[in-house]
């Protein structure tokens, strides 16, 4: 018996088999798997066919893209009045802030945006400097820029003139700047081994979390002037900002507490065994891990905070939504489609900000999960 065949050369390479099922098969399985599924698919297609054309007509085809005033938008059959949005955009962004001083607002927010990107960029160096700038320097510089500093040649601009997106972002930023350190301190206090400190912190957190934000804003607005000495009378924008910061801190404290609870006690014990003091243990071992573990929850908290800034309208502050809502009453533009146009625009504004924050949170979550997977192998 001899070997009948020995290959002297490798067989020609064949392309890898196409593992992806063909599109039609995918569609059949995922859209028409069985009778119920087919029925649902047909229903959804019918819904799209019914809803899409009117939406398209209202938002795009019949919309008024440029007009000097509301006359064209009031015409029967006219769709969304984007001309109104274009005309009102400066008001929506700056409120009644004096036009020749608006560069100050721009500068303040460019500064804030730069620091935020620096802080959030995963590979950016020297985050300590960025954190110091954001939490310590920015509040003072921002206040001087927005409110004015006569000694630096910046005329004062009263908060009664502030409004629009600028106020929304300002309130949200102030909430973040106060809530992050405030929440961490409250959470640490709640976990302290001093009963009195524990009770005070837990009481404050549970009290604020137990009442609606509107009640907190009412309280800040009506009771701060009562509780403070008569000649202190805090600014009308400062009061709701205080309320929002308090509210955000209480919610942040619970997130921070969850992060602290997720760190095994062995970490702190190991740090102490290495000779680190209590503060050093917290600062270099426990807090970095605890906060990194809950970054997604922190960002989700900020999404909620940003949505909640709309409620400052209850005490008469003109935030973005409030300016949009107030502008629709302008007799020059008032018309049947103005309200819907304004709300769609406002919706897009909030959607863009919130979706950006949410997707950042999801990205961080994925990165953290990847890191953990590697650890466990």
């Amino acid at each position: 018996m001899t070997d009948s065949f020995i290959r002297s050369q490798p067989a020609p390479k064949r392309p890898p088999p196409n593992m992806a099922p063909p599109f039609l098969k995918l569609a059949r399985e995922n859209l028409f798997g069985d009778a119920t599924s087919s029925l649902i698919t047909v229903g959804i297609v019918a819904l799209i066919v019914l809803a899409a054309p009117p939406l398209w007509r209202f938002l795009i085809a019949d919309a008024v893209w440029s007009a000097p005033d509301g006359a064209l938008c009031r015409a029967p059959g006219a769709g969304a009045c984007w001309a109104y949005i274009a005309a009102k955009t400066p008001f929506f962004i700056y409120g009644s802030y004096p036009p020749d001083q608006r560069w100050r607002v721009d500068l303040a927010f460019v500064l804030a945006a730069g620091l935020i990107v620096w802080l959030l960029w995963p590979r950016a160096p020297r985050k300590g400097v960025a954190a110091f700038g954001f939490f310590v320097v920015l509040p003072f510089v921002g206040f001087a820029l927005l409110s004015g500093a006569p000694s630096l040649g910046l005329p004062r601009v009263g908060t009664n003139l502030w409004g629009g997106a600028m106020v929304s972002l300002l309130v949200a930023l102030a909430g973040i700047v106060v809530a992050l350190p405030g929440g961490v301190l409250l959470a640490l206090g709640r976990r302290s081994d001093l009963p009195a400190l524990r009770w005070v912190c837990a009481g404050l957190i549970e009290f604020v979390r137990g009442v609606p934000l509107i009640a907190v804003l009412f309280m800040a607005n009506a009771m701060l002037p009562i509780f403070l000495p008569p000649d202190w009378s805090p600014d009308r924008l400062l009061r709701p900002m205080f309320g929002i910061a308090l509210f955000a801190s209480a919610y942040m404290a619970e997130v921070a507490r969850a992060g602290l609870n997720s760190i095994p006690s062995g970490q702190a014990e190991a740090a102490q065994a290495l000779g680190l003091g209590r503060v050093a243990t917290l600062r270099f071992v426990v807090l970095p891990q605890a906060l990194a573990a809950v970054i997604p929850a922190i960002v989700n908290n900020f999404v909620a905070l940003f949505k909640d800034t709309t409620l400052v309208a209850i005490v008469g502050i003109f935030d973005f939504l409030h300016t949009v809502d107030a502008a629709r009453l302008d007799p020059k533009w008032a018309g049947p489609t103005i309200a819907a146009t304004g709300y769609v625009f406002a919706g897009l504004f909030y959607l863009v900000f919130c979706l950006a924050m949410s997707s950042y949170a999801r990205g961080v979550e994925r990165r953290l999960a990847a890191g953990r997977r590697q650890d466990s192998i």
Binding site: S37, I44, R209, P212, A215, M219, L228, G347
Partner: protein, 327 residues
Amino acid sequence: MKASALRRWAIQAALLLAVGGLFALAIANARANLLARGIPTSFAFLNQVAGFSLNQSVIPFTPLSSYGRALLVGLLNTLMVSALAGALATFIGFAAGFARLSRNWALARLAGLYVETIRNLPLLLQILFWYVAILSPLPAPEHAHQFAGFFLSNRGLTMPALSFAQGWPAIDWPFFDPSVNRFNVEGGLRLPPEACALILALALYTGSYIAEIVRAGVQAVPRGQSEAAAALGLSAAQARRLVIRPQAMRVITPPLISQYLALTKNSSLAAFVGFADLMQVSGTILNQTGAALQVIAIDMALYLSLSLATLALMRLYERRLRWGGRG
């Protein structure tokens, strides 16, 4: 050891003193400020005549009723709106949560679109949108949309109600008759447009959160559970009912209850559309009497007790789970 114990006491005493001092200072300031402005400092105003009317009330209320009764009406309205919106939100949330897990791609994407959009829009924007852009332009009662005894017009939603007016239970059908009332639908139970907008927006908003809770709860049940159920010969429906649901509900229920709590607190946004809930009524009373301290204290106490009652319920549920469960 002794020195550190002494330091602990010193720190705590200093903290309590500081908190107490802050309170004392605030109270002293408040007394001086209130006296200077002539604002009432007792709860006696609760018995005074309110002098305003409310657009929705489940108990009799006239402008001659007292402030205290107005607050009670507000509380009942808050509870009513929360209960209705909660029931609707549960339905929407479970439907959307299951839809997101559906094998049908189109349905899953549609539910995903709903959840992602609604969660990222402020609730206030949604309430205003429904109230100003959708419900206000509805036709007058004369030309109301009618469906199975329901009337939808710019005066709100009127629906058939159970009536005991004749002494026995009967259905009170709403009707529109110009000779009886030219301006509104008569009979039945009427929800003003403010309440409709509030309930709709709250239900859709909270529903999107409940959908995510439901999805996470179902996904938290390991796949092996349904495989084991199939191996034991259970049908898909039986497996869902007997194996998946009890385990998923354990994960779902605690966050679900906190969503109900959040919904109740969020119903305070009624103040923006002028629905007479607890917050709106207290805002009116606050403006009329100036008794900010007392009114806000009452509000806080009511909302806090609602929260604490819900938390107690949750603890009870968790304890029951521990007894019945994983050992």
